[in-house]
């Protein structure tokens, strides 16, 4: 099977491995060529046990901060680090609005999300951003892989998280509302929150707060493409 790399437009030629031929397993369509893919850095051990940050088996400073804020039992996972290649990817995907790039990591997300449990709630973009892009970047990444529940509503903020420094990010007040239409998902024993990038954790913890305020007492875990 051949297709073109969504980043560099080169033809991707899948090299079959012996076991793939024996098992006769269907090969997922690939969207990144090996040369582009090797620019991204996958998160492998050692990483922070509670947020997946690459570097050490110890809990990272961000997680210690959240623990000091009174949060317990949070658990975040991620696939890649935020390196120059990833910066470039998000510039093209979110800033330039190249919606096709949503497919780039689909095979990897598919593999990973198989191990996580529904219902999946994603972090939505604000109305302004939607009007400019005409798509929701987080929804784009995960759509078609897992069933998504749009249970969170993003309220208008003066600036996006990406435009702020660390301190400003952490001090941003709650910007989510729970959509009461989806009350039923609160019956689930476990909820997974999906986002594109986890930087300080502010967004995810606001989402957790929002769910807790509606009275949810079950387990909450979260996942992002990038940490």
């Amino acid at each position: 099977m051949t297709s073109k790399c969504v980043l560099c437009q080169q033809l991707i030629i899948h090299e079959f491995r012996p076991w793939e031929i024996f098992i006769g397993k269907q090969i997922d369509q690939e969207y990144l060529c090996p040369r582009c893919f090797q620019e991204f850095q996958a998160i492998n051990q050692p990483y922070c046990p509670t947020c997946g940050r690459l570097g050490s088996f110890q809990q990272c400073q961000d997680c210690q901060y959240w623990q000091a804020q009174g949060y317990r039992g949070f658990y975040h996972q991620a696939l890649f680090t935020y390196n120059p290649a990833m910066h470039d990817y998000f510039k093209r995907y979110k800033r330039y609005g190249d919606y096709r790039l949503r497919l780039a990591f689909q095979p990897y997300l598919k593999q990973k999300l198989r191990k996580l449990e529904p219902p999946f709630i994603f972090v939505p973009s604000s109305q302004n951003h939607w009007q400019r892009r005409l798509f929701d970047p987080v929804m784009g990444l995960f759509e078609g892989i897992v069933p998504l529940t749009p249970a969170l509503i993003k309220l208008a903020t003066d600036r996006s998280q990406a435009q702020k420094n660390r301190q400003e990010r952490l001090q941003t007040p709650q910007f989510f509302n729970f959509n009461p239409q989806f009350q039923t998902i609160l019956q689930a024993p476990r909820i997974t929150i999906l986002d594109d990038i986890y930087t300080t954790g502010r967004t995810i913890f606001h989402a957790i707060d929002c769910l807790r305020q509606t009275g949810y007492r079950g387990q909450i875990q979260s996942f992002s493409l990038v940490r």
Binding site: R92, D98, L134, F135
Partner: protein, 431 residues
């Protein structure tokens, strides 16, 4: 007065507008060709709706995305060029002299400009191409023409801008590319990347395309289209190259394109002829013995050198290996993704480093004083004839060190290496 400035800024521009715009000449940005395909009216590229759709009936053009995404809800509007310039009595403030050979080409270009033709200037690396253009540009300025100097890469534009500004200090000159914060301003001479030409429609009477054989312009239909759309129907188009690609050579052979050849550097010496060094094994994880010996020799001679490699990974790897073998040698690596790229190149220029391991980013448009050039894995697919000639052209650029060495290391003597060496020999011989 304010109105006039605004209309000047629109002169010759292709602007994006909406369905609400009442202007009669607006036209849709994307047009449907069939149920499945659409064409972008800014870059003329054809794509599939299903691959590039945002919602059920909104699709976007992926090819000219960096200039701002166009969807089928957008409209375009082309403003006619006004040629509204204040023409100075003596546009050219440059007071240098040309060699007789340069003079000859300079005069030829003035004729080409009057006759509104297309012309290729084939001038070897380091021969003073830019200066040969001055008389022609001055002539066009006097005639009230609008002029663009475009190059495929930002670095080349940045290097060109101050030189043109100094040579034409009575004329409005501006610089436009995607990596600068400067806003667009109407000027008689514009220096820009080829990408930016997509924002113009029938604007320029004279367009000079520098490094017309280099990436990303070469084999890129989008950028070729950008050039054709930016010039007026009656225009003069000058291509500059040290290593014309087959595209131009076939046009020359077919008699569709005239050219002038300048095969002497301004100092009159030969181009350094590359030597080929056959390498038996690329012993992985070790520094190849032949390369090691050559570096040893260069260290003894205290000769500064550039080592070209074919990929970012190789650059980092080789730099590490060299560090391991020759810890006393001051060297580092540089590549396109290196955040310290500009700084490292400047440090090399300032003699802070004795050697630099580099990818092809330093293949053209840069001048270093007295350096030798080594190319590792010159037989790699990523080095084509043009690249190899350009790389060899980094050596011997100053009059007192015109005999710098150029060595290609490779496991095979392939046709790109053969052609590069032969072309340099040929250029040296016919005077």
């Amino acid at each position: 007065m304010g109105d006039m400035v605004e209309s000047d800024n629109l002169s010759g521009r292709l602007v994006v507008t909406t369905a609400l715009d009442q202007h009669l000449e607006k036209f849709p940005a994307l047009i449907s060709l069939s149920k499945e395909q659409f064409k972008c009216q800014r870059c003329q590229m054809v794509n599939q709706k299903s691959l590039y759709s945002l919602t059920a009936d909104v699709f976007y053009c992926p090819d000219c995305l960096v200039l701002g995404r166009l969807t089928n809800q957008d409209y375009l509007l082309a403003y006619p060029e006004q040629n509204n310039f204040k023409i100075p009595l003596y546009p050219l403030s440059w007071r240098g002299t040309l060699t007789p050979k340069q003079q000859q080409i300079s005069q030829k270009l003035c004729q080409v400009q009057l006759a509104k033709q297309e012309h290729l200037v084939w001038a070897v690396t380091g021969s003073g191409k830019t200066e040969m253009l001055f008389a022609m540009i001055a002539q066009a300025v006097s005639q009230g023409e609008r002029i663009a100097l475009a190059a495929p890469r930002v670095d080349v534009c940045n290097e060109l801008y101050p030189r043109i500004q100094a040579a034409f200090n009575q004329v409005s000159v501006s610089l436009l590319h995607g990596q600068g914060a400067s806003t667009y301003q109407y000027s008689q001479i514009l220096i820009c990347t080829v990408h930016q030409l997509l924002k113009f429609r029938a604007a320029f009477d004279l367009l000079v395309l520098d490094e017309c054989d280099s990436y990303p312009y070469i084999n890129n239909p989008l950028l070729h289209q950008a050039v054709l759309q930016a010039v007026k129907p009656r225009h003069c188009l000058i291509y500059l190259s040290a290593t014309p690609s087959p595209e131009y050579l076939t046009r020359i052979q077919a008699g569709q394109l005239n050219y002038s050849l300048l095969n002497r550097r301004f100092h009159g010496h030969d181009l350094p002829k590359p030597q080929f060094c056959l390498v038996w094994k690329h012993n992985f994880g070790h520094l190849n013995y032949q390369l090691q010996r050559q570096i040893q020799f260069l260290i003894q001679q205290q000769q500064r050198f550039l080592l070209f490699v074919d990929s970012i990974r190789q650059a980092e790897l080789l730099s590490q290996l060299i560090k391991h073998h020759f810890p006393q040698l001051k060297q580092t690596f540089v590549h396109a993704k290196d955040p310290l790229r500009g700084q490292k190149v400047q440090e090399f220029r300032d003699n802070h480093w004795q050697a630099l391991v580099t990818t092809t980013i330093l293949e053209r448009g840069v001048t270093f004083y007295n350096i030798d050039v080594l190319v590792w894995q010159a037989d790699s697919q990523r080095f084509n004839v043009q690249t190899l000639i350009q790389i060899a052209g980094r050596a011997g650029r100053s009059a007192d060190h015109s005999d710098n060495q150029v060595i290609f290391f490779g496991q095979q003597y392939n046709s790109a290496i053969d052609q590069a060496i032969k072309q340099i020999e040929r250029l040296n011989h016919d005077v």
